[in-house]
């Protein structure tokens, strides 16, 4: 998120050195200190006081809008961001927050308008592209959504794993699907973040969806070592092997689910997810025996 903070006052600090300004800064510091103490009402009250002193400060309106956004008081938040934009049109962040507020209140058309304007002004904004991609996703414009996720990831020096997941989901919804783009998108994430479980899971899921059992198994085998000891991993392996047609290896995997449960600490082996994995493995073994 953006940082309104004290940066907004820097021009004031450096260009006006009157006693009045000094007094204002003292008040500001006092207010910052009081704001430090946290509740929404106190923070709003302090910002109100600051705005009385300086009613044309767009940054303060934006700051107050952020507090309203945090509190999900959307109408006040929108009012403040609109006013910030009116006072200081070059404060592009105001436009972003308007788009964000519209998105959160499901006014997707308005959100799209604001965000498109914003990314025109700030074309390298990962947040702008991400939120616009999310708006397009809501409007089922998957191709556009994927395009803006691409731009968000490209513009971001350190994109979170979440971005790759969102893009993957959008690409899965696109018709016709582009398998290479889907797989490469995930691999791009792996190249960026290493073999983190979120991306490996999706690679397994994708190849499973494609019926590419060998590839799915290969990605499964790249799970982090601690996970490869868990009943869930062996269960997933059993399922993939079964689908691949390797019945005897699938049986071994399912049996390992059951055997490995006993290896878990006494505090873990009765936990519901592990018991469920065991029950699934037992059912799968019975089904395999029948066939």
């Amino acid at each position: 998120m953006f940082n309104p903070s004290l940066i907004a006052f820097w021009p004031l600090i450096t260009t006006r050195r009157s006693t009045q300004t000094l007094g204002f800064l003292v008040l500001l510091l006092l207010a910052q200190s009081l704001c430090a103490h946290g509740t929404r009402d106190v923070r709003i009250q302090e910002l109100n006081q600051q705005l009385k002193q300086n009613p044309n400060n767009a940054e303060l309106y934006l700051q107050r809008g952020r507090v309203w956004i945090d509190s999900q008081v959307w109408s006040h938040a929108l009012d403040d961001t609109l006013r910030a934009e009116r006072i200081q049109p070059e404060l592009h962040e105001a436009l972003y927050w308007q788009g964000y507020i519209h998105y959160r209140t499901q006014k997707f058309t308005q959100a799209k308008q604001c965000l498109e304007r914003y990314i025109t002004l700030a074309p390298q904004s990962p947040a702008g592209h991400t939120t616009l991609a999310q708006v397009h996703t809501e409007q089922k414009n998957y191709a556009l959504a994927a395009q803006h996720f691409d731009l968000a990831i490209a513009a971001d020096s350190n994109p979170q794993p979440q971005r790759y997941i969102e893009r993957y989901r959008v690409l899965r919804l696109m018709q016709p699907a582009n398998p290479a783009r889907i797989e490469n998108g995930l691999k791009e994430g792996v190249a960026r973040h290493g073999e983190i479980i979120n991306l490996l899971e999706l690679l397994v899921e994708w190849h499973q969806h494609q019926g590419q059992w060998t590839e799915a198994l290969a990605w499964l085998n790249r799970y982090p070592e601690p996970l490869r000891q868990t009943p869930q991993w062996w269960l997933a392996k059993g399922h993939l092997l079964k689908h691949k047609g390797d019945t005897s290896e699938a049986q071994k995997a399912y049996q390992t689910v059951i055997d490995n449960l006993a290896l878990l600490s006494e505090h873990k082996r009765s936990l519901r997810p592990f018991i469920q994995a065991k029950q699934e493995a037992e059912a799968a073994l019975i089904a395999l025996h029948r066939t």
Partner: protein
């Protein structure tokens, strides 16, 4: 009239110029050092300098032996140096600076201790603060209360629960409201933070940018255990046998199918650590300055994160956000708003206190054993609220912090308020006792009494039931009395030289585990002496320790066998400099107002809160107890002091936690108020006479640790606040009998 001394002035000017330019070129540390990402063999040390230099950390096993160096070439003001190849569970001292200059460190406050090896259960102290970064006296009071609390000097981990720097988490705010507030602890204990909403005002979790992400070096590739998350916004790490999970409840998607919670599900499924502790900023249950029934982050965390955490057996969950202290019962399965909370959500609706309704116990084999949820957001400010969430055992509008002491399967939790008072506490036991007692020995202690030893304390009811004991050869058991793990049977007359078999049934331990049916032991009664089948008893007195005065109680007829607690006659030894040629005692005192002075040769040791000229005085004493045989159990300990200048005020005895020597100890290199552990006793020396001070359980444990081979740093004597000082004869005093002595009883 002026005389001319131009050449002299020129020299002086030149010298001044050299000194000035030298200082002008010297870098000054402006932040830290502080510790990050510590594990069993690595530690990352960070600091900021006011001008760019290369980065050098010198470290070693003592402040005076920083024999190893790690350097990072190139110049910078933000320094990040990773030490690698360290030894587990080892204390290191360090300094930071450049290749030409030491900026900070080199004394015993610049130190850290590496983690135990992964998976190793080790006593662990964790300090937790939340919403601390106000920069106010309230924040300072919470910090000082903790520093004064026993064990603070041995803190292993420090968790920050978000809103670490108000108001917007700017770099300047982190400087003034975090770095400047905790100057000492930061250089000693690795910090593990989570992002609060105020920190998030200047940070961006999506891109991991902004002051919060710039300041902290956090794992995203499983560098300290756990699963790689790919982001510093949420992460996990291990410390010994504890797995910690940190979530971002503010800026990262809290959806169940989002990256964070899917990662968490895998991470918690994969951990094999005994304890699981999660922390994030927004509380799932609170009625403080925030309301978990109405605020989206709080609802999301409760509805989305908690089911996963509980499914996989989380033990404790810590949060902040509300500026209060709220601590739950042992809970499970409550994901709705507060009006839907019922008694069925309480796994244990008691206090969790051993002196109350009993410790919370998470039984092994339980599928849903419960977790305790804590809001600890009052480390810098209190903001009230209705404080009436029904999930909470207690809710306090009180400044404070949380202390965890984890040891094996036991976790002790305390809420320490800003006045230094523990206002809430509980114990969580991971796994109940499922081991039945065993019969370890039986021996006749007289012609009509048999002593029976068990592997653990037994319940009074079953252990005290005579019918549960059968002795063959026509001996009847008339009564049974329990004392811990020993039961004494009053029997009909035993015949000398006869071999008897004792059969025990139905005896339970305190957790109701029942002894194996027909457990048996044989013993023989011989007039005066008996023997059991497992080993012969001895009636000789214990040998005295060399160079110390010892005494032993009269012969006993206890016996031992495999698995039994070692037993024998209690032996008491005294250690006093010069008595029986003992020369293992040292003492001195240090003064805060003469912080570099050493008083090791004084014939008195002094203590005072302010002696009028040297401010605080604290005495340090130490005895070598190596003559106590290894494996012995200390049962009592006392210290005898001869006071010759009395005081009306109270004085406390503390365990010292840092090494010192009488010839070099100063206030500066011992910092006795910081480097102290548990309080082990106290006294008010109102007369000029000899005082024998019986040490409390912590004192006995301290002496036991010395016997067990842990570092013996002795004890300190400090004023409890009085400025009416006390003077005590020291080891240098001429009359040997008036020198300090330590008396220890062991078995």
């Amino acid at each position: 009239m002026r005389t001319t001394h131009q050449p002299w002035y020129a020299c002086l000017f030149g010298l001044a110029f050299i000194i000035f330019t030298s200082f002008a070129n010297a870098a000054v540390i402006s932040r830290g050092p502080y510790l990050q990402m510590g594990d069993n063999d690595n530690m990352t040390i960070r600091w900021r300098s006011d001008s760019a230099t290369d980065s050098v950390v010198r470290f070693g096993s003592s402040p005076s032996a920083l024999s190893q160096t790690v350097s990072v070439s190139g110049t910078r003001t933000e320094h990040i140096v990773k030490l690698t190849g360290l030894s587990a569970s080892t204390q290191y001292y360090y300094s930071v600076g450049s290749s030409t200059q030491t900026l900070a460190g080199g004394d015993n406050t610049y130190r850290f201790t590496t983690s135990p090896n992964p998976g190793t259960a080790s006593p662990t102290r964790v300090w937790l603060i939340g919403d601390a970064g106000t920069g106010t006296s309230s924040q300072t009071a919470v910090y000082n209360a903790y520093l004064n609390y026993p064990g603070a000097a041995n803190t292993n981990l420090w968790l920050m629960l978000g809103d670490n720097a108000y108001d917007s988490g700017t770099d300047a705010e982190f400087q003034s409201k975090m770095f400047n507030m905790y100057p000492v602890l930061m250089r000693q204990v690795p910090i593990w933070p989570t992002l609060g909403n105020h920190d998030g005002a200047s940070a961006n979790s999506s891109t991991q940018s902004g002051p919060y992400y710039d300041i902290f070096t956090l794992p995203k590739a499983a560098e300290v255990g756990g699963l790689a998350s790919g982001t510093e916004a949420y992460y996990s790490f291990d410390y010994g046998n504890i797995h910690f999970i940190c979530l971002d409840s503010y800026e990262t998607s809290r959806a169940t199918n989002g990256a964070m919670l899917t990662w968490m599900q895998n991470d918690i499924a994969a951990t094999d650590k005994q304890w699981i502790i999660a922390f994030f900023h927004h509380p799932p249950y609170t009625k403080g300055s925030h309301n978990s029934d109405t605020e989206s982050e709080l609802i999301d965390m409760r509805q989305n994160a908690l089911p996963i955490l509980e499914n996989y057996g989380v033990d404790l969950v810590f949060t902040g956000h509300s500026h209060s202290y709220e601590r739950s019962f042992l809970l499970d399965g409550h994901y709705g708003n507060s009006s839907t909370f019922t008694a069925s959500h309480k796994v244990d609706g008691g206090s969790g206190r051993e002196d109350g309704t009993g410790a919370y116990v998470k039984a092994p084999g339980a599928s849903r054993a419960g977790a305790v949820y804590t809001v600890a957001g009052a480390s810098g400010k209190i903001s009230g609220g209705t404080l009436n969430h029904p999930a909470m055992f207690t809710s306090l509008n009180q400044l404070g912090s949380v202390i965890l002491d984890v040891n094996g399967n036991r976790l002790d939790f305390k809420h320490l308020n800003s006045s230094g008072t523990v206002t809430d506490y509980f114990t969580l036991i991971k796994g109940s006792d499922t081991t039945p007692p065993t019969l370890t020995a039986a021996s006749a202690v007289s012609a009509s009494a048999v002593s029976v030893s068990f592997s653990e304390p037994v319940a009074a009811a079953s252990g005290g039931t005579a019918a549960n004991y059968i002795i063959n050869n026509g001996v009847s058991v008339n009564s049974a009395s329990v004392s811990g793990s020993t039961v004494t049977l009053n029997t009909s007359a035993l015949t000398s030289g006869t071999n008897y078999t004792l059969t025990v049934n139905n005896v339970q331990d305190v957790s109701n585990n029942v002894i194996a049916a027909n457990s048996q032991r044989s013993f023989t009664y011989s007039s005066g002496v008996s023997s059991s089948s497992s080993s012969s008893s001895s009636s000789s007195s214990s040998s005295s320790s060399s160079n110390s005065t010892s005494s032993s109680s009269s012969s006993s007829s206890s016996s031992s066998s495999a698995g039994a607690t070692s037993s024998g006659s209690p032996t008491t030894v005294s250690f006093q400099q010069g008595t029986n040629a003992y020369s293992g005692s040292v003492d001195t005192y240090v003064a805060s107002g003469a912080a570099s002075n050493n008083y090791g040769t004084a014939n008195a040791i002094l203590a005072d809160a302010d002696d009028g000229s040297r401010d605080k005085l604290i005495s340090l004493l130490k005895w070598n107890v190596a003559s106590i045989p290894a494996g012995k159990t200390i049962t009592a300990a006392s210290i005898t002091l001869r006071v010759f200048n009395s005081s009306a005020g109270a004085y406390n005895l503390w365990a010292m936690t840092t090494a010192w020597a009488p010839g070099t100890a100063t206030w500066n290199n011992t910092l006795p108020e910081t480097n102290r552990g548990a309080q082990i006793g106290s006294f008010t020396p109102t007369s000029n006479t000899t005082y024998t001070l019986t040490l409390n359980a912590a004192g006995i444990a301290l002496v036991q640790s010395w016997v067990n081979g842990s570092a013996n740093n002795g004890i300190s004597i400090a004023s409890g606040g009085t400025t009416d000082g006390v003077d005590i004869r020291s080891n240098e005093y001429g009359t040997v009998a008036q020198r300090p002595s330590l008396t220890v009883t062991y078995q």
